[in-house]
């Protein structure tokens, strides 16, 4: 008589195990199969295509009734196992006991539900089995249904995409900074997010769920930490799984995160074996199918007394969402001694990254073109030495010869309606049409379409469109690229950030074909500035992409100490402020106190770790950062004006203070210094500033584009106005047009020299609509950036970063 084998759980792993067992020796065991779900083994991985309507349930059944009948399996489906009695070697089911000689545990895993308030409301479900899938499909039948998915991992995104395909309005809420962070790096995460957004799915990263709101016991909305309420008819939690260990644990089997098994898949009881998502092997638990199939094979052999050993191999991941082609394998996140090979093709939305260690591939992340995934995966598993093919490796097996990357890929990728010339609203399609109509040079394009005829900053892009369209017939004049990381000039990049609505560093790296993973010390500060200037609300400033002065909000000196300059609005101070400055200088042993050229007091020689404390003291006396270190508004220098001076024609001090209170905190391409003089005697030296005002009897003369540094240049007159309000409006618009258009590290005089003062006049003086729009955009940006960085950094959590991470001098002295 054959031995009795009882299997608990009719999942994919145990199903595969039975196949191996019956193939090798159909008569070895008399098999009984328990399953809590009222059905047999189906391909759980294919639930997503069922959800999206691409497959039916019948198509994903692995073992149907016939299969179980043919193999003489006694099926006890829909029956839970309550207890395992190891002493009597008996399994206790809901409908009765059953003895065993060998027992196989394959209970799989249970979805983890975050215990948020409201998680037990009706309509809050995991994504695990056919019932959940049917629930989600049912939602699609009702027009206007909304769903929220918590979790931007593999399962959550498949659920989201599936429901979206059924016409449901879906929002994905993910706690991390990018989607699928365990499988993807931020670059691939960016592309994935973009593809999902294109499918109409709303994606919220860095989002913390706070509470699930209900009505009459049914889910109504998800409330986030920041107060956002996301209405929904169904809330799917897909934040992870946990091995189902309860049965094993209750039976007294050794259990950690999962039920412990050895290399032969045997638990701490020699007659009980286990496999699948419920086990823990050498500290690892399992969620992907490939290693489970390996376990199934080993377990079947162990049951037949054959020798076999389970080895956990590298696994790869693919997302089963139509149109989102991604692949990830191996290790791509942490560790020493690693090198990256990166390839981006913005035209096709392709990103590939290989991670090498000692000339072997240890990880791969790919998006958009994953055809070579299996090839790379094979090399990861085999540990192939790739020294000989490094140069062409990234192109895949079919391309072991390699060609140079196309520097015009980014422009070639632009759609026809992409705006090339912002001043005159000329699209790429307009320019291509002009070329087909006979234009062959920049001058001819300018004459026929007006592209680059105004500020001219898009000339480089126009030339690239000529190059892409005409091929070899057009030779592109060499424009200086930002740095070795890309082929585009500053002007091109600025234009494309606007027209392509690139709102993150990842978007810029990918869409503009950056050749490095993360940019370098030259391009990153520039890109960080462009992004925050163009998208003040959407983009978050990145301190690690700033030079030390702007990161630490003080000016580094050659000995590594810093200078601290508190703001004195318009150069006006008070006895109390002066006393506070003197006290701070004493308290922090400031070696040098100096009056600056911008009418401020500079405390030089402050130690880096004292910065938060000295700022706190100055804050207490009502003073804020003077931004004497920033590419931003520095100072507005004034003379005493009509209040005291017998020559003064207007209140120059008052106007200076107003301007400074309006403009402070704003970031600009380079530093921005202003001066306001109360009469043409010009005591505030306004005519060598970036922007200057000379007060005259009839009002205000506004000057721009002066320089008094390595170059000396007097200002040019922008316009004359009669009221203070208009002067302030024009200066605000002037600051904004400079912020929006100039190349990083160009002062106003350099930039005006490139675009011409006439164009600037037209925009900020003559065109009233444009002037007001500029002012509005400036005010929007200031609603975020007009705040005191010192106050922020004096707070304990930021102040900590100014101190050493550790002090080992004491320990070593022992």
């Amino acid at each position: 008589m054959s031995k009795k084998l009882v299997v608990i759980g009719a999942g994919m792993a145990s199903g595969r195990m039975l196949e191996h067992l019956f193939d090798a020796d159909p008569a070895a065991y008399d098999v009984t199969l328990f399953n809590a779900e009222p059905r047999g083994n189906y391909n759980r991985l294919m639930l997503s295509p069922v959800l999206s309507g691409e497959k039916t349930y019948a198509e994903i059944v692995t073992h149907d009734d016939d299969w179980y009948a043919q193999n003489d399996v006694t099926c006890r489906f829909g029956e839970r196992v309550v207890h395992i009695d190891r002493d009597r070697k008996v399994v206790v089911g809901e409908h009765g006991e059953l003895p065993y000689d060998k027992l196989v545990l394959g209970m799989g895993s249970t979805p983890f539900m975050i215990p948020l308030p409201g998680h037990d409301l009706d309509g809050v479900i995991p994504y695990r089995d056919l019932e959940d899938t049917e629930r989600m499909m049912g939602l699609g039948a009702k027009a206007g249904s909304k769903a929220v998915v918590i979790g931007g991992g593999l399962l959550g995104l498949e659920a989201a995409a599936g429901m979206a395909a059924q016409g449901v309005d879906v929002t994905v809420v993910h706690i991390m900074g990018h989607l699928m962070e365990r499988q993807l790096d931020p670059a691939a995460g960016y592309l994935l997010r973009k593809a999902l957004v294109d499918k109409g799915i709303t994606v919220m990263c860095n989002a913390n769920s706070k509470e699930i709101l209900g009505e009459d016991g049914k889910v109504r909305a998800l409330l986030l930490d920041d107060g956002t309420e996301l209405p929904c008819d169904l809330l799917v939690m897909a934040v992870g799984i946990r091995p189902a260990t309860a049965l094993g644990e209750a039976a007294g089997l050794a259990t950690g995160r999962g039920i412990h098994v050895d290399d032969q898949m045997i638990t701490s009881d020699a007659d009980i074996l286990a496999l699948g998502e419920c086990v823990e092997h050498k500290g690892e638990v399992f969620g992907l199918v490939a290693p489970l199939y390996d376990q199934a094979k080993v377990l079947a052999q162990t049951l037949l007394d054959q020798e076999a050993t389970f080895v956990n191999k590298e696994v790869s991941t693919k997302l089963k969402v139509t149109g989102c082609d991604l692949f990830s394998a191996g290790d791509f996140a942490e560790g020493d001694d690693r090198e990256d090979i990166v390839f981006r093709d913005p035209a096709r939305g392709v990103y590939k990254r290989l991670i090498l260690k000692e000339n072997r591939i240890i990880g791969a992340v790919m998006y958009g073109d994953t055809a070579d995934g299996a090839w790379f995966y094979g090399m990861i598993k085999d540990g192939t030495d790739v020294s000989d093919m490094r140069d062409t490796l990234i192109f895949g097996p079919a391309y072991q010869g390699g060609t140079a990357l196309d520097p015009m890929a980014a422009v070639a990728a632009l759609p026809d309606d992409a705006e090339i010339c912002g001043c005159n609203g000329v699209s790429k399609g307009d320019i291509v049409a002009a070329i087909h109509a006979g234009a062959t040079s920049l001058a001819e394009i300018k004459a026929t379409t007006k592209a680059s005829a105004s500020c001219g900053s898009c000339a480089g892009l126009v030339e690239q469109v000529l190059g892409v369209t005409m091929g070899d017939e057009f030779v592109i004049p060499q424009d200086e690229s930002i740095c070795g990381c890309c082929d585009l000039s500053h002007e091109d990049v600025r234009r494309l950030i606007k027209s392509q609505e690139l709102k993150s560093q990842e978007a810029v790296w990918q869409e503009l074909g950056w050749k490095t993973r993360n940019g370098c010390a030259t391009c990153r500060p520039a890109i960080n500035y462009y992004l925050l200037a163009d998208w003040p609300v959407e983009y978050q400033d990145d301190p690690q992409s700033r030079f030390v002065n702007e990161r630490k909000h003080a000016n580094i000196q050659k000995d590594g100490t810093f200078s601290v300059v508190p703001r004195m609005w318009g150069g006006i101070t008070t006895p109390d402020e002066l006393r506070a400055i003197a006290d701070a200088a004493d308290k922090y042993n400031v070696p040098t106190v100096k009056v600056t050229g911008g009418q401020r007091i500079d405390l030089l020689g402050v130690k880096g770790e004292d910065l938060p404390a000295i700022w706190y003291d100055l804050n207490q006396a009502g003073m804020v950062s003077g931004h004497a270190y920033s590419k931003g508004l520095r100072t507005v220098k004034t003379c005493v004006g009509s209040d005291h001076c017998r020559f003064g024609t207007q209140d120059s001090t008052g106007l200076g203070i107003k301007l400074e209170k309006l403009l402070w905190g704003s970031w600009t391409p380079h530093k921005l210094k202003l001066g306001v003089s109360g009469c043409p005697r010009n005591c505030a030296e306004a005519t060598c500033k970036d922007i200057g005002v000379i007060c005259i009897d009839s009002g205000y003369e506004i000057h721009v584009a002066g320089a008094a540094g390595m170059e000396i240049k007097g200002t040019e007159v922008l316009c004359r106005v009669t009221t203070e309000e208009e002067a302030i409006e024009i200066i605000t618009a002037m600051s904004q047009i400079y912020r929006e258009n100039a190349k990083y590290l160009d002062r106003i005089f350099k930039w005006v020299d490139k675009v011409g003062l006439d164009w600037v006049k037209e925009q900020v003086v003559e065109n009233l609509d444009e002037r007001r729009a500029l002012v509005e955009r400036f005010n929007l940006s200031q609603s975020i950036y007009r705040k005191d960085p010192w106050a922020e950094h004096a707070k304990p959590e930021k102040a900590e970063t100014y101190r050493p991470l550790a002090d080992l001098t004491l320990e070593a002295a022992e």
Binding site: E334, N518, P804
Partner: protein, 105 residues
């Protein structure tokens, strides 16, 4: 030689650095965009550094004063070499090799 636990990895900013004070002088501990860690002396002579204040990109740092680029792995630059120190991550903690941290002779 022994490895000293100097703190959790998340106390070093992504693509940034922190200082560790030692009898040898200040050591800069860097964290790269791929969460690797490296440690070097914070200064080279009187002219270069503090490198903990530089911009970290890939496996290099730009001197904040001179903009000279130093390789974090080897300490090398066009202007001379920095002393490097062993540094690694274990269970989210940053460990520093103390074998070269005694006071310079």
């Amino acid at each position: 030689m022994s490895w000293i636990d100097i703190g959790a990895i998340d106390r070093i900013p992504d693509r940034g650095a922190r200082v560790v004070r030692t009898p040898r002088g200040d050591i800069a501990v860097f964290r790269t965009g791929t969460a690797e860690v490296f440690a070097t002396d914070d200064r080279l002579g009187d002219s270069y550094g503090p490198l903990s204040d530089g911009i970290v990109s890939d496996r290099s740092v730009n001197c904040p004063i001179t903009n000279v680029i130093f390789d974090l792995e080897t300490g090398q630059s066009s202007e001379g070499s920095l002393q490097t120190h062993g540094c690694r991550i274990e269970n989210g903690r940053v460990l520093l090799d103390d074998s070269k941290l005694t006071a310079a002779a």
